[in-house]
């Protein structure tokens, strides 16, 4: 596969007065991929998207689209189109005129324009809706009109700003799959901004995780989940139990560690972690812990625990457990196989974990500052 770059951001910064909204952003997007910018609100992801769209000019750095430097090109002359969070359907126009809005200046004949509009509406499964008024549409239909209106322009890149956040849960999940299918069938590069980790994971080829204006990690959803490079990424994507550890020996592909509560284990080195130190941090996903009434067999480490609290989610049960030597309460997620909740609050149980499930998160910065304060 020859990966052709469609968007290239290098050293992009955006400052508002003294506030730096986006800091030193380097990013290369490949033609035809579904890319998400994920992060908490205020992390700069929307600003980054608006700079790609051309609504905001970067304070420094360059933005290239399809090889062309567009850093100072305004939004109306960029080969990008956007689907807005509020959909921004023109209330005074019907569906057909909404979708055909941008073709006005295309030099196409009326007949060609009409054909393009109906083709775009077919694409989003709203064929024949041309004469509907904007106020007769449901939220999901407005979303589709906004999509058709952007896609009819045949942009090189489609930008989506929290496109599903205004929909209710069931519709949102259906639209996630549909958007993904649509993107794959037309092959246009999609860049989506979202704060919803599940949305980002189910839809994207790659995700860029942003915190405080900084892009912390860009990877496939699976890699982000299995090998997060920093504590904040590990914490933002999925649940995670953090455990302090001591690094005894780092050699080759494995790290010999003494993990709080769980004892000595050989943990695989995480290639995304920048630096290691004697004070280390590891993570264990809640669903990768086994909980049992008796000491489970065949695990690399087993430890006794006390059930402090229980949360029933329907498809799974979360046990919040305390383990001697582990500073924070740990979460164990168990699939609901038999419609039974096996442990009660205050019960003692056993935890089992495989070394392969323990994620190396590098140097433990919390621990260092704590020790620094003590001395």
């Amino acid at each position: 596969m020859t990966a052709e770059t469609i968007i290239e951001l290098s050293g992009v910064e955006k400052r508002f007065g003294t506030l730096t909204a986006v800091r030193d952003l380097d990013l290369e997007l490949v033609k035809g991929e579904f890319f998400s910018l994920l992060g908490p609100s205020g992390c700069g992801k929307t600003t980054a998207l608006r700079m790609i769209a051309g609504f905001q000019e970067p304070s420094s750095g360059t933005i290239r689209i399809d090889g062309e430097d567009v850093s100072t090109v305004p939004a109306n002359r960029r080969p990008t189109n956007m689907v807005f969070q509020s959909y921004a359907i023109f209330p005074h126009l019907d569906v057909g005129d909404n979708v055909g809005f941008g073709l006005h200046r295309s030099g196409l004949s009326r007949k060609e324009r009409r054909a393009r509009v109906s083709e775009a509406l077919e694409l989003v499964e709203l064929g024949g809706y041309e004469r509907r008024r904007a106020n007769q549409l449901s939220g999901g239909q407005q979303q589709r009109v906004a999509l058709a209106r952007a896609l009819v322009m045949r942009p090189k890149v489609l930008l989506l700003d929290e496109p599903l956040s205004a929909l209710d849960k069931n519709l949102r999940e259906a639209m996630q799959l549909e958007l993904r299918r649509l993107q794959q069938s037309i092959g246009i590069t999609f860049v989506m901004v979202t704060h919803d980790q599940y949305e980002a994971m189910t839809m994207s080829d790659r995700i860029g995780v942003m915190f405080n204006g900084q892009l912390e990690q860009v990877d496939t959803p699976q890699t982000l989940y299995a090998s997060p490079g920093t504590r904040s990424v590990a914490n933002f994507i999925g649940g995670m139990n953090f455990l302090p550890a001591r690094l005894h020996n780092e050699g080759g592909g494995t790290l010999d560690m003494e993990i709080a509560g769980f004892g000595a284990m050989a943990v695989g080195r995480n290639p995304n972690v920048a630096d290691h130190g004697r004070n280390a941090l590891v993570g264990i996903r809640p669903e990768q812990l086994e909980i049992a009434a008796h000491r489970p067999e065949g695990y690399d480490s087993t430890v006794q625990c006390r059930v402090a609290d229980i949360a029933f989610y329907g498809e799974s049960i979360h046990y919040f457990v305390e383990v001697d030597g582990v500073p924070e309460t740990m979460t164990v997620a168990v699939p609901n196989y038999f419609h039974s909740v096996d442990f009660t609050r205050g019960a003692t149980a056993w935890l089992g974990v495989q070394a392969a499930s323990v994620i190396d998160l590098g140097r433990n910065r919390d621990n260092e500052t704590q020790q620094g304060e003590k001395t």
């Binding site: 051309g54 939004a75 109306n76 807005f84 005074h92 941008g102 006005h104 200046r105 322009m153």
Partner: protein, 274 residues
């Protein structure tokens, strides 16, 4: 609310009397304008349309009417344009001094007219602008900008800024965005602002009296006629026509204002009763 009503049983009667006191005198105006007698007193003698018919022959009246239309029209356009910029800035942007500036813009609503009028006269004379229709237009623009700003603010309040961005993103130019998106959506608000500011200017007396010089506007003309008892019935007829015209304009303006505030009229019908 219920408890308040039990506490003060006369509240409804009071409200009715209050409204009657406020509006009944206004209704006497058209009533006496159809009376044959030249003295405004009961009982009314006979019915006639003569007073109305005579209006058409009064040249100075027609001239002052033309003056008022010129002043009202220019004022409406000027204050609506200024209001458009101000309202958009107040609703869309957060800038230093926004609240203070909004307060200052609204100030003409509470300053006594006579103060404004006399100080404007002094200022205009100082600047070398003699009392004239342009002077009245400037004065009225000052007076009507608050009306324009508050009407247009309610139009912009309901206007999603993403609509303009979406149009721009779809390749429109800045002017094209205004013409194809902003104008149609806040258009009703603009019409409403034009009508209201026109009406306010059309009915305004004090400023016009000070600033109009030898070309009176209609209210100034009416005032000059009141001194002649024989002309009183004509004045009543003219006043009645003005009253009907103003009410009509304001009702139309309100219709458009609501359409602007609800974006499409039909979309949020329920909000119309705000």
């Amino acid at each position: 609310m219920k408890r308040l009503r039990r506490l003060l049983p006369g509240l409804g009667t009071y409200a009715a009397l209050y409204l009657a006191f406020l509006y009944l005198p206004v209704l006497l105006l058209p009533l006496f304008s159809f009376s044959e007698g030249t003295i405004v007193a009961f009982p009314i003698k006979g019915f006639t349309l003569d007073w109305y018919a005579q209006l058409g022959e009064a040249d100075t009246l027609l001239h002052s009417l033309a003056n008022s239309v010129i002043v009202g029209g220019s004022t409406a356009v000027l204050s609506t344009v200024l209001g458009l910029f101000a309202a958009r800035a107040y609703v869309r942007h957060r800038f230093f001094g926004r609240e203070i500036s909004e307060g200052i813009v609204m100030l003409p609503l509470v300053i006594p007219g006579i103060i404004v009028a006399s100080s404007m006269l002094v200022l205009f004379l100082f600047l070398g602008l003699r009392p004239s229709l342009p002077a009245v237009i400037l004065g009225h623009t000052f007076l009507t900008v608050p009306f324009a700003v508050s009407i247009l603010k309610s139009a912009f309040d309901e206007f999603d800024p993403a609509l303009e961005e979406a149009a721009y993103d779809l390749g429109e130019t800045t002017i094209g965005v205004f013409r194809r998106v902003t104008m149609p959506i806040i258009g009703p608000g603009i019409v409403s602002s034009l009508l209201v500011t026109f009406t306010v200017s059309f009915d305004e007396f004090v400023l016009a009296f000070f600033l109009s010089g030898n070309r009176p506007t209609l209210p100034v003309y009416i005032w000059s006629q009141i001194r002649f008892p024989a002309k009183l019935p004509n004045t009543l007829a003219l006043g009645s026509l003005l009253l009907a015209f103003s009410v009509l304009l304001l009702l139309t303006a309100e219709y458009f204002r609501r359409r602007a505030a609800t974006g499409q009229g039909a979309r949020k019908e329920s909000r119309d009763d705000r």
